[in-house]
Symmetry: C3
Subunit: 131 residues, 3 copies
């Protein structure tokens, strides 16, 4: 297992981590396989979506805030239950394919770390299984 | 890695792809393992849910439209940010189990390709890992 | 493949199953790998989130009920389309890492079975792949 660090700079935002993941996969030496990316936090998530237009990242945060707004009526005393729920909806792990020793994504795809209660320094766990 | 093609016929809808996945798994020759199904697009997703009553498929689309409606205030100029967000909520990959060389699903489950910005011809990537 | 049973006691609620999963992983004898947890139902899901404060579990249910309320206008005649949609949003499988023969979670994380149409006795399928 490899641990990557992701520094987030805002309360809620997406960070493109495709290049970091690409490097880990290349260095793993696996030619064909499946790579699992795992977020060991409870107010952060990971997703794969469009990386071409950076405004998609902003729209995703706008949409998730509308969907699960901050709400003082939640019982969890830290006041960040919306961030827990957003994390559950997006999910805390993704799988990507490894082909010929390289990360294989769709044409418009990038991998995004999703911060929902930052800014913080976060960990991302990576494991590559050989096919 | 195997690539399946899924032809979608509507703007937003679910397509049952269970039979196609079953065939790929059988032909992979893997007896026991885990199969990852990966959508290389950013306005489409994949999910596993009830296949017995086809009205569930329609209710899922109704629910997702209510949850994340089209909205001209999004910044992404293509006007399909709702489709990107719906895709992130549902997720772009699933895992299914392979037992005795066959796809193993729950009694009422089917595998559904989720089109959120169609109609289009879409790809689905499949990889089977042996246990 | 191992099958665990989860008894749920309410209509909608999260059940912490971390200890049961830990046991299966230990007994699998796998030292380093990836464990897939798969829910073979269509009105239940699985997620990983905070286990320290039990009020998070309640807030998650409160949030999901607000997001996808019961609604008689859905077409599926069983009247539980909201449970199907909630299950799709949360997802029916998760991956966790196995390190030194043990389940490896983040500090605050636990694994939760999500019942959206209970109470029932549910199955959870588990498979551990060696790295």
């Amino acid at each position: 297992m490899i641990t990557l660090q992701v520094k987030t700079s805002v309360k809620q935002g997406l960070v493109n981590i495709t290049t970091q993941v690409q490097r880990v996969i290349r260095e793993s030496g696996v030619a064909q396989g499946v790579c699992t990316l795992y977020v060991p936090h409870t107010t952060a998530a990971i997703t794969i979506n469009e990386s071409a237009d950076p405004s998609v990242k902003e729209d995703v945060i706008t949409g998730l805030k509308k969907l699960v707004p901050e709400d003082p009526s939640y019982r969890h005393l830290e006041g960040n239950s919306h961030a827990h729920i957003q994390s559950i909806l997006v999910g805390n792990s993704v799988q990507v394919f490894v082909e010929d020793g390289q990360l294989k994504l769709g044409t418009w795809q990038g991998i995004f770390f999703c911060e929902f209660d930052g800014p913080r320094t976060r960990d991302l766990w990576v494991k590559v299984l050989s096919a």
